[in-house]
Symmetry: C2
């Protein structure tokens, strides 16, 4: 058995994501850990020992199943292995899940290292609101458009909206599952998952055929956070699992971000709380997300400045004029001049400049402030 196969065998004997395995691997080679388990002993959990008895058969079955479904086994040392995942070995377990994965079952045309290098996880509530789904899609589309891979969990709700936001722009996306990557979970997302593997990836630390359980969702969350440069939670109720992903992102020193919503929405209670408690930065749009990733050096180029910066770059007269304009009520040049306390000629010059910069819009009845949509 090579290290690769030892890791595969080990993943069929222990529960992937069990932090005890990672601890053992920090002092022993995978083959040695496996041998220890097979020998048994008081410190070896009986379930591990039990499954190790017929581990060779298990490896044969898993490998055959993987071949049938076009899965590959990516391990530390593989060229496709994302180094970012190794950070998981240095973070305290949460909810009995932790450690770097033994390896990942990967399905799809993408390359895991390349796709995850500039990436962001967009996750959230299964029973999201229409508002949440729309924001998730928009943020994901913006990220994808900037060449950032969207990673999510392929679940109903926010996850699906996130994948679809990227796919709508024809950009690859990565789905990390809590079950074997040969299974379509949830079933209703079979078409979504087969679209994802066309140029993206479906990924799991669970062996082929493994079904999802509550604890596997929790350990899956650490992989989403570990693969991505940052995690955005779009909607989450107070105890949502996506807050667990956010916690992992925070523990890993990745960008942890949350989208606000109406305070009356239970689905935003978790994101508001995360922001309030300083566990996440508030983000409202793709540009905010990209700015956070840029702050961690994950997006190379500096981003176009926010409205404030643009405002500050304007000449003083233009700033005075801009301050008098509104979205909703037209102002004649004379009104603008009087409000800005500028001469008519200065006002006209400033309005022309603001129009060129796309900040002011003339109409039959007067001038308006350009809406954000006009600015985009």
């Amino acid at each position: 058995m090579t290290g690769r196969t030892d890791r595969l065998a080990l993943s069929l004997v222990v529960e992937p994501g069990d932090p005890r395995v990672d601890r053992l691997l920090q002092s022993q080679e995978p083959g040695r850990v496996l041998a220890t388990i097979r020998r048994g002993g008081s410190e070896v959990p009986p379930a591990w020992r039990e499954r190790s008895v017929d581990v060779e058969d298990r490896v044969v079955v898993a490998t055959a199943r993987a071949r049938t479904h076009g899965l590959r086994w990516v391990t530390p040392g593989s060229r496709e292995w994302p180094a970012a995942l190794d950070d998981l070995a240095h973070v305290e377990p949460v909810h009995d899940a932790g450690g770097a994965p033994l390896g990942l079952w990967v399905k799809g045309a993408g390359r895991l290292d390349g796709l995850s290098e500039r990436s962001v996880a967009v996750v959230g509530a299964r029973d999201c609101t229409a508002y949440g789904a729309e924001v998730a899609s928009e943020i994901s589309a913006d990220a994808a458009d900037a060449g950032v891979t969207v990673i999510s969990g392929a679940a109903f709700g926010i996850d699906a909206a996130a994948h679809r936001g990227a796919l709508a722009l024809g950009r690859p996306t990565v789905a990390v599952l809590a079950c074997g990557t040969d299974l379509d979970y949830p079933k209703a997302h079979a078409a979504l998952l087969s679209r994802i593997v066309e140029d993206g990836l479906v990924v799991s630390e669970q062996p082929p055929g493994q079904v999802p359980t509550k604890s596997r969702f929790l350990s899956r969350n650490r992989l989403i956070a570990g693969l991505a440069g940052g995690t955005v939670v779009v909607e989450a109720a107070q105890r949502s699992g996506s807050l667990n992903t956010l916690r992992w992102a925070d523990a890993l020193g990745r960008a942890s971000m949350a989208v606000p919503g109406p305070v009356s929405s239970q689905q935003s209670a978790g994101t508001h709380r995360a922001v309030r408690e300083g566990k996440a930065v508030l983000v409202t749009q793709g540009r905010d997300v990209l700015a956070e990733l840029a702050g961690l050096g994950l997006v190379a180029e500096p981003l176009p400045g926010g409205a404030g910066t643009e405002f500050d770059r304007l000449p003083a007269e233009a700033r005075l004029v801009l301050d008098t304009l509104t979205w909703s009520i037209a102002a004649t040049p004379a009104e603008v001049a009087s409000r800005a306390r500028l001469a008519r000629r200065e006002t006209a010059r400033a309005l022309a400049l603001l129009q060129r910069r796309g900040l002011a819009v003339p109409s039959d009845t007067g001038w308006f402030l350009a809406r954000r949509a006009d600015l985009a």
Copy 2:
């Protein structure tokens, strides 16, 4: 002339809120400053000198007008003077407004020092959304209910909703105007303002008869922030004046707070930005606001803990059971037991406990998580 009258006279000669006045007062008595202005000289703005010529007449007119409208002139040294306002003398001017006021024209049955001692400003957009108005009223009602005075600007939109939230509970509220307190501004709020003075206050640094201008709104904002223990902005577009109030609160070391909303709403763009840039703490409800005020020692008693704390205080079984319940889908005790991996008897005991604590609600079809409204 006494210091009180000198201050009154001075407020009729200079523009109240002009930071140059405050600077002069830091080295000279009000009477001396007035004498300097009357003497004229290169350093005295011509407009001040001009108005100082007939200052005695101005004082007579203002005093008569104040008497007619039942206004009183409250100055530093008056028993009713809120010491908190003196902090304004130590903060850099913003937008050409700054300094402690020369005095305040006060109208109403309340006492300014007592009402402002435990207080919070709730301000925001004039053209607010129905969502914003509702949140402003709710937060204000919660604050008022906890004995905290709601201070606002009596403007359309958020301000009016804030005052009304307090008045609906029969609690006094304070309106700070940008014009003389003898004027009803806006006109449409005449009834609101006369309701406010019944047991609260209408306050302004502007002399009787003075009309509001853009710069007076800006200098008024510093008084709102200066009187209140903290400022909550409920809705604000990117350049809303209420962000200016927030900036004052922040500069004064008071609690600066902002309410989130849908990211698609322009009226929440300013609050989101303030939170994102660390200029405000995110708050979603009265309890959050009270917690911030408590953090500054403005609300005496410790507040009831958030959901997290309450959760942590539950026995382990109850926590497991609570985690299986949802707002929307009923679960039978058998389902709960299976999901929580507990025995039926343990489950029944935990459900009963959760019901007693108001955290779980039984129905004909099974158990639900109690909604926040049920918890209140």
